[in-house]
């Protein structure tokens, strides 16, 4: 079992290196096919890691069965170990990552950014995949940090090189802001890890989970704040979200998909995996503030969406709101809230991935993502894509019966019933505000549909080149659509995994 995990960690890196090392220029499509095959293998591997049945038995957070454990010393003098493993929290995220990277590669077989250089793009996507899976499977704080950082430079390159080709200065600025803010955040997070190490004497997450750093003030509190800030940049939580709209809006389609679908999850995963179990008391101290900022993120993100005129920016801001829900769920520290956060992680990855694919498709067809320039009445011009956009919007606004609902519902339930140590009245206020946030979410998605899909087709003649849903797009998006519905009607599929978390 652990061979599979090591395999899916190493394979993308080796494959990327091999792709770069091939001296001859290979065709774009061949590179994309190669990437699809590699990421497909990784996807299969990650599915093989998925437990079959036996996981419902475990009971508490402290006693979570790890699978595929590899634990060897790496840098003894720094007390760093190479400790990877998966459990029910990380497994769905790993599969999500593998799936999205696979779909991105598949998508690139036919549709690539105008700038070309697909070979490097595919290689970078594979490196990102390895980094993200590594982060999700790391059981050592330092290894987590290293993997957390692996994705930075590739993602920076993806935005910087393949980004919006109309705005080179803008995409460069977006990429740099993204990478610099994230690096600052992760450096602060590292300080937090080191403080933990100073207190506990180990970087091992499993050990730290079993014997956490107690105490809600002093060093533990400082560590918790630093870790929370570092993760919050990645999540991103208001007011550290400022890099996100630009980065998403300027990134190429596959970049946006991975950024929103996978990279944002690193932050929330870190909060759940590290902050909550390792620093329980300090987390209780900062949780209300975390919840407060998350609520502000929900409201402010949704409000900002209402005033956006760019499709990709709008979807990017919607991520701020949705990640706010996840942050709120974590900050409740309750079973429902944590499960909601985990569920919303997956759901947001799927739905926002789909949304960014759609936005990319619309952008490719009109050579702009500005709502005013695209015009209205997509229902008439691109009926299938418009219908899918409506579907994805409904899913994203949390319509029950689709994947987006359960996460938000559980988060709100968690806020209604937060952990005993937390001030309940405050959380009730947060719950009500977050509830209003769902209405605002609905408002901006409906505004999007209204301004983009609906409208009098007579005013906007169909462009000559505008082809409706192509086969590769259908093939790429179908799994996301299917999962959106499947998780919507059968939330137990994931909830059950987490058992009595």
């Amino acid at each position: 079992m652990n061979a599979i995990l090591l395999g899916i960690l190493a394979l993308p890196i080796l494959a990327a290196a091999a792709l770069w090392a091939v001296p001859v220029a290979i065709a774009d499509r061949l590179a994309a096919l190669y990437g699809s095959v590699v990421s497909g293998v990784v996807l299969i591997g990650s599915l093989l890691l998925w437990p079959r049945g036996a996981w419902a038995s475990y009971t508490t957070l402290q006693d979570r069965p790890l699978r595929a454990v590899t634990d060897v010393p790496w840098i003894p003098s720094l007390d760093v170990r190479f400790h990877v493993a998966v459990d029910s929290i990380s497994m769905p995220l790993i599969v999500l990552t593998a799936l999205l990277v696979f779909l991105c590669c598949l998508y690139s077989v036919r549709i690539t950014p105008r700038i070309g250089r697909t070979r490097s793009l595919i290689a970078l996507l594979l490196v990102i995949e390895a980094g993200v899976i590594g982060t999700f499977s790391a059981m050592d704080l330092v290894l987590f940090f290293v993997c957390f950082e692996i994705v930075l430079i590739p993602m920076w390159l993806v935005i910087d090189i393949w980004g919006d080709d109309h705005d080179p200065a803008g995409r460069r600025r977006a990429a740099t802001t993204f990478v610099l803010m994230t690096v600052l955040g992760s450096a602060l997070m590292l300080l937090g890890f080191l403080l933990v190490h100073r207190k506990a004497g180990t970087f091992d997450i499993v050990q730290l989970t079993n014997s956490p750093v107690l105490g809600g003030h002093g060093v533990a509190l400082a560590a918790a704040i630093l870790i929370a800030v570092g993760m919050a940049v990645k999540v991103p939580l208001w007011p550290l979200h400022i890099w996100l709209p630009d980065a998403h809006a300027k990134a190429p389609t596959v970049g946006s998909v991975l950024l929103a679908g996978v990279l944002l999850k690193l932050g929330t995963y870190g909060l759940i995996r590290i902050l909550v179990p390792v620093l329980p008391d300090a987390t209780v101290t900062i949780a209300p503030y975390l919840a407060g900022f998350s609520t502000v993120a929900i409201i402010a993100g949704s409000l900002a969406c209402l005033a956006q005129t760019d499709v990709k920016r709008l979807i990017a801001y919607s991520s701020v709101g949705h990640m706010g829900f996840i942050g709120l769920g974590i900050a409740t520290l309750s079973p429902a809230g944590l499960r909601g956060a985990l569920f919303a992680n997956i759901a947001h990855g799927i739905i926002t991935g789909l949304l960014f694919f759609l936005a990319g498709a619309i952008k490719d067809r009109h050579d702009t993502s500005d709502l005013r320039e695209i015009g209205r009445a997509l229902y008439a011009r691109l009926p299938r894509i418009a219908a899918l956009l409506t579907f994805a919007s409904l899913a994203s606004l949390g319509l029950p019966g689709l994947a987006g609902f359960w996460g938000e519902m559980l988060v709100l339930l968690g806020a209604y019933n937060p952990a005993d140590a937390l001030p309940r009245a405050t959380y009730l206020v947060f719950m009500v505000l977050a509830g209003l946030g769902t209405v605002l979410t609905a408002a901006y998605f409906l505004r999007l549909v209204r301004n983009l899909c609906q409208g009098d087709p007579a005013d906007h003649l169909p462009a000559a080149f505008a082809v409706d849903l192509s086969r590769i797009e259908l093939a790429t998006w179908a799994p996301l659509i299917a999962l959106t519905v499947l998780l919507g009607v059968w939330p137990g599929l994931l909830l059950h995994q987490w058992g009595n978390l």
């Binding site: 840098i75 950082e149 390159l157 910087d160 600052l184 300080l191 080191l194």
Partner: protein, 483 residues
């Protein structure tokens, strides 16, 4: 009764290097019949042999403890002027590797044609002698001598091309250095006055017990000594000579300054701090910490807008020194030596790459590197790797873990404010290197750099890249150097 005793093994390496220096000078001076190429090859081989001997010796003796020039002390254990111990071994290894790298960089067909070969290698070896002595020195007099023996040959090397730029660079470095020596010696004289000894261990023993009235004097003296080293390693605000000198010198000499000369300074400061002159919790450590914070911030910020590759590396090396000073301020030798090791290897590689480009594009602007991922993929990949290691991000795990060790040392010493400054500087530093990396990736380039790279350069850069890669995968080797 013995007055002094010496374990000759402790000074074998400096001795061999010194002998090698003389031999190189003689060979070059009296063997006029050979062609320039042949002489260059022989000189390079001789120099390499001397340095390699040093490396092998250090490897063989790495665990031992060998004192030299010792005498019984009035109180406590014997006082020694030069000691070979694991820390020394680590520092020597770093210095010698750096020296070897510079020799490799100056191999045939790489060194600028107007630099005299014999003198160059003689000066290089002499400086190495000084550097090794400095790293092993345990009394202030030896330290001063060592420091001067590092410094004076390097100024000569800067001016070795005998042109306007070289002489100006040398003058600046020289003037600043002499001032620093004077300040340092002034400090040493007071330190001697206060404690009555020049032996570091004795000074460390006596400092806590001195007359409270003299405490301020002792502090000022220690400050002056540290400032002397700060000049040497170009810590802000004693850094201003560095960019000018780096630009004025031939690239190989710049590499030497950045690698050997700077490492020697750090080694001296490390010895000074760890040997107890700046004891744990003393104000002097705060001085070093302040220096670290200011140095990394100013260095990185100033590097942010540079247009020339060498100047960018110059400023960024100031920033790197800031990071080196951080664990030094808390006396964590392991982190310092580890950091130094990664820094030396990567800086060599970076300067090597720059040297290749600069030979064909003398302007040395960052824009000259545009589009290199396509026109020169191998060199570009190596350069990107070096820069990423300097920035401390994956895949440059060597840089990441050395920075990590620095953070750990600082955090464990409860210097929270310094850690925050370091975190901010990680960000600024990344911004510095990413500008360069972005140029490398930018396509399409009007006039991409593409040449047949000289084989010594290929070998050198590959070697550096391979070493950095090994250090990235097995970072423990770096930290094993000083234990």
């Amino acid at each position: 009764m013995t007055l002094t005793w010496t374990d000759w093994q402790a000074i074998a390496v400096p001795l061999v290097l010194a002998v090698g220096a003389v031999v190189v000078l003689l060979v070059d001076g009296f063997w006029k019949s050979g062609s320039r190429e042949l002489r260059h090859a022989v000189v390079t081989l001789l120099t390499s042999a001397a340095i390699l001997f040093g490396l092998v010796f250090v490897w063989a003796q790495r665990g031992g403890f060998k004192p030299a020039f010792c005498r019984p002390a009035v109180e406590g254990p014997a006082e020694c002027s030069l000691v070979f111990e694991p820390l020394t071994a680590g520092l020597w290894a770093v210095l010698l590797i750096g020296g070897l790298g510079v020799v490799g960089l100056s191999a045939y067909r790489l060194l600028a044609a107007d630099v005299p070969i014999g003198e160059y290698h003689f000066l290089l070896l002499s400086a190495l002698v000084g550097a090794t002595v400095l790293a092993g020195a345990r009394d202030l007099a030896t330290m001063v001598i060592g420091l001067e023996v590092v410094s004076l040959p390097s100024f000569a090397m800067v001016a070795l091309r005998r042109d306007r730029r070289g002489s100006e660079g040398a003058l600046k470095a020289f003037l600043v250095s002499v001032l620093s020596t004077a300040v340092m010696l002034f400090g040493i004289s007071y330190l001697y006055g206060v404690t009555g000894s020049l032996y570091l261990s004795t000074i460390a023993n006596r400092l806590p017990g001195i007359d409270p009235d003299l405490r301020r004097v002792a502090f000022a003296a220690g400050l002056f000594v540290i400032v002397g080293f700060a000049f040497k390693i170009a810590a802000v605000p004693f850094h201003a000579w560095l960019p000018d000198t780096y630009v004025g010198a031939p690239v190989e000499v710049t590499a030497f300054l950045a690698v050997v000369s700077k490492s020697a300074g750090v080694a001296g400061l490390l010895v000074l701090v760890t040997a107890g002159v700046a004891a744990d919790g003393s104000e002097l450590r705060t001085v070093v910490a302040v220096l670290a914070a200011v140095t990394m911030t100013v260095g990185n910020l100033a590097a942010l807008r540079q247009q020339e590759a060498v100047r960018l590396l110059a400023w960024s090396s100031i920033g790197q020194v800031g990071f080196l000073l951080a664990p030094l301020a808390v006396g964590d030798a392991q982190a310092v030596v580890g950091y130094l090791a990664a820094y030396v290897v990567v800086t060599l590689g970076a300067f090597g790459s720059v040297a290749v480009v600069q030979r064909h594009r003398p302007a040395g602007l960052l824009t000259d590197y545009r589009g290199m991922v396509r026109s020169e993929p191998g060199l570009a990949a190596a350069l990107i790797f070096f820069l990423v290691v300097l920035a401390g991000l994956p895949p440059g795990l060597a840089g990441l873990f050395t920075k990590f060790a620095a953070f750990q040392a600082v955090i464990d010493a409860h210097l929270g404010w310094l850690a925050i400054v370091m975190a901010v500087n990680v960000m600024i530093g990344l911004a510095v290197y990413l500008r360069w990396v972005a140029e490398l990736f930018r396509l399409p380039a009007d006039d991409p750099f593409s040449v047949d790279i000289e084989s010594p350069a290929v070998a050198m850069i590959s070697l550096c890249a391979a070493t950095a890669a090994v250090l990235s995968v097995l970072p423990s080797t770096m930290f094993a150097l000083a234990t």
